[in-house]
Symmetry: C2
Subunit: 458 residues, 2 copies
């Protein structure tokens, strides 16, 4: 019997995850518009046998954590970050499909500002282009700037977003089942290209969508591209328990990660699913050195590159948008008004500042690296120990690796940490399968029309 | 002074343009889901120095001419055609960008069932991935099956579609101008990634769209990806005269093509544009042999592969959806009721049948090859002569080449016709430029914010 293995994705924003990464001498500062940079990173991850590469997304400039606060603050800090402009994920992964052979390709796309027909079609096409390596990270969007690019004045409410997402994913799966796997005969002699009985319009009429179908792409090689989700709210966890195959989650401590893991895995039985059918991959921001001191030095070098404007805006974004620029950066956090946005994270941060008696600068430095994700700074051995502990103590099935700087942060992990994990039998030396689904140990979903046909025939 | 040169795009549906192409022994019957097939075709076109490859599109299974008639007829004929399922164009061209270096990559996308932010973003990303080789063929969709995949019961009316397209293209251009060309400093020392004065939100509020912007991709290498259009209606020609840089048009005779050419070029002055700023490329369906007899044989071989069900459905679609399956295929066309769809084409076809005393079979055979486009069957010399005549007699700036079968129909043209065109000084032997815009001899549009800034400074 083979030992349980870690799943590892490489989460690869152009210059890396640290907020000041682009200023680092090793960073490809223009990586967000340079295909060769991405090709090199994806090929390195593939050579190291990662399950997949992972791309975040926002359909607006101001996307994601890290650029928050007021608009003025936002623009000033944005101008000092590398987050303003970069490749769109589906086009980038399609291009990467052509220069890689085995690694999975996971793109984030929102259900809130998209149409299911377009999304089903593009991911099916990517799955064919890549020979079964596509994954879709479903998000419902987190900021009003996206809404304003799509005709709305304000962001769609959380509950509405999740109701839409629930219906969206059912429509997308229905479209992926439009053609049965063996529908295409392509028989030149008889002139029959496909079996008309194996093509199924969808005729979906729901609350949010009316979609006739069928899809104009054959059923994807994986059946469905792998379904990834990242929501940690109550409706997010429930949607994941019903539909997700991979969860990317932000957990700061082993105890929190264990609680999340048990919570989500515990919901699966209700949907007739086994615990193995959903892989939980916390994000991890590893700063790796040959020694602990070297790792600390690397981390300090990055921290020293943080422009106070960027640090302040990042912190403002995490405490509900309150503008801190008028306060001395080496003084304490001022009293803060109540806010509607991100309450729990805000409370945790303010508590931390008070408890540890941190200045504003110390507080933003404490969050600037991993930005809410698990940060591990240490020797290769120490990093491997920690990953193994989470993996073996019910906190993770693997990790979404967030290199501090690209390309070198990924190279460090590959050169220093992976050999240790391999030695311990925790990570593959060769791919066993060809598809992302196979790398992750997920089964290929059957076409529900085929299932029905076989049931009738039996 | 160098001689005026032909522009040539290769229009590459998976198996070729002839309605029975996929049954031909040379055809890659599964080409629509096989990336290596497309890579080979695009690389052959690039080696032959084509300006670009061109992909049609429909956001539904039943797209395009060739699958029409009633639903029953449609399904029966569709099952005997290769048109039901295939790659989505933007993902496919993104992948092709990674395995080619110089050839342009033109994808059709509708404005009727898309959002301008998504479209601007994907084409900007493709332009960066390809180093300035993207082109967008704007269409407004031609069938109700697309509408029914996007929440509507019926197709949007023609006039509404064109009003939406007019506004759509302005929003897209505005988004492409979000960042000035020199906005990105990426200065690691100072920590300034971009010049905040060179980022411009759009704040568009129009009839169809409300889009704040800015785009989260840098200004495309070409300024704007090349704008292609295919509409031949009155609003279509007017939209093209205002905004298009390439027109793909269906013209059957030299006289018609000359009239169209003069009409559209004559409209440009009204928008302050020179005749050279818009290239007119009629479609041509060339069946090329070493001799005329060989070409005729090749054509007959294809015609003989047409399943009557496919021929009938094709014809039905072109005469307004009237079901002909109850009539003897070797008898005359029955009297036809008046119809609302495709009136002029319908009248032309019926006239032709009566005038030439054609049976139903003869009539569908007469349209099955080029499906409304110019069909040239002949020796390489004859084909070259005809192309030259159109090019030199005010009918065309080049052609959108529609190979009957892929890959061999394109190979034939490259091996047999291109050497003659080159000998006559009508087509390049090497690329002179690196971008699609440069291949076509189109100037790079300036960013309107930069123009304004320079005007103020002057």
């Amino acid at each position: 019997m083979s030992q349980r293995q870690l799943s590892l994705n490489a989460f690869i924003p152009a210059t890396g995850h640290h907020v000041a990464a682009w200023r680092h001498p090793d960073a490809a500062a223009n990586g967000g518009h340079e295909f060769q940079h991405y090709a090199r990173v994806a090929q390195a991850a593939e050579a190291a046998k990662f399950d997949g590469v992972f791309l975040a997304d926002s359909a607006a400039v101001w996307g994601g954590a890290g650029v928050g606060g007021t608009d003025r603050q936002g623009l000033e800090s944005l101008a000092r970050s590398a987050r303003g402009a970069h490749f769109e994920p589906i086009t980038l992964l399609s291009a990467l499909a052509a220069v890689t052979e085995r690694i999975g390709l996971i793109a984030t796309v929102t259900t809130t500002y998209n149409e299911p027909y377009h999304l089903a079609r593009k991911f099916a096409s990517l799955d064919w282009l890549s020979g079964g390596r596509a994954g879709w990270n479903l998000v419902t969007s987190a900021n009003q700037h996206e809404a304003q690019n799509f005709g709305l004045d304000a962001h769609v409410e959380h509950a509405d977003r999740y109701q839409r997402a629930e219906e969206f994913i059912d429509v997308v799966k229905g479209l992926w089942d439009s053609w049965e796997d063996d529908a295409f005969l392509r028989d030149k002699d008889s002139g029959v290209y496909f079996d008309a009985d194996k093509l199924h319009p969808l005729n979906h009429r729901g609350t949010h969508f009316k979609v006739r179908g069928p899809l104009n792409v054959a059923r994807p090689p994986q059946g469905y591209p792998v379904l990834v989700q990242a929501g940690s709210s109550e409706p997010g966890k429930e949607l994941a328990a019903r539909t997700a195959e991979v969860i990317f989650t932000a957990q700061q401590t082993l105890a929190d990660a264990q609680a999340f893991y048990a919570d989500v895995k515990g919901r699966l039985a209700r949907y007739g699913r086994s615990p193995d059918s959903l892989k939980i991959l916390p994000g991890v921001f590893p700063v790796v050195g040959r020694t602990e001191a070297e790792a600390q030095e690397k981390f300090e070098a990055l921290q020293n590159l943080i422009d106070p404007k960027v640090g302040l805006a990042l912190l403002s974004g995490m405490i509900g948008g309150f503008d801190l620029s008028a306060y001395p950066v080496d003084g304490p956090l001022p009293p803060l008004p109540a806010s509607n946005g991100g309450k729990s994270r805000q409370a945790l941060l303010i508590d931390k500042a008070r408890r540890e008696n941190l200045t504003i600068r110390e507080l933003y430095l404490s969050i600037a690296g991993a930005r809410g994700h698990w940060q591990v700074v240490g020797s290769a051995e120490q990093v491997a120990d920690q990953l193994q502990a989470w993996f073996e103590q019910g906190a993770a099935d693997g990790f979404n690796l967030m290199p501090p700087v690209l390309p070198t942060g990924l190279d460090d992990f590959i050169e220093l940490v992976l050999p240790i994990l391999r030695e311990r039998g925790l990570f593959r030396s060769e791919y066993q399968g060809r598809t992302l689904r196979e790398h992750l140990g997920l089964s290929r979903p059957e076409n529900h029309h085929t299932v029905q046909r076989n049931r009738v025939a039996a």
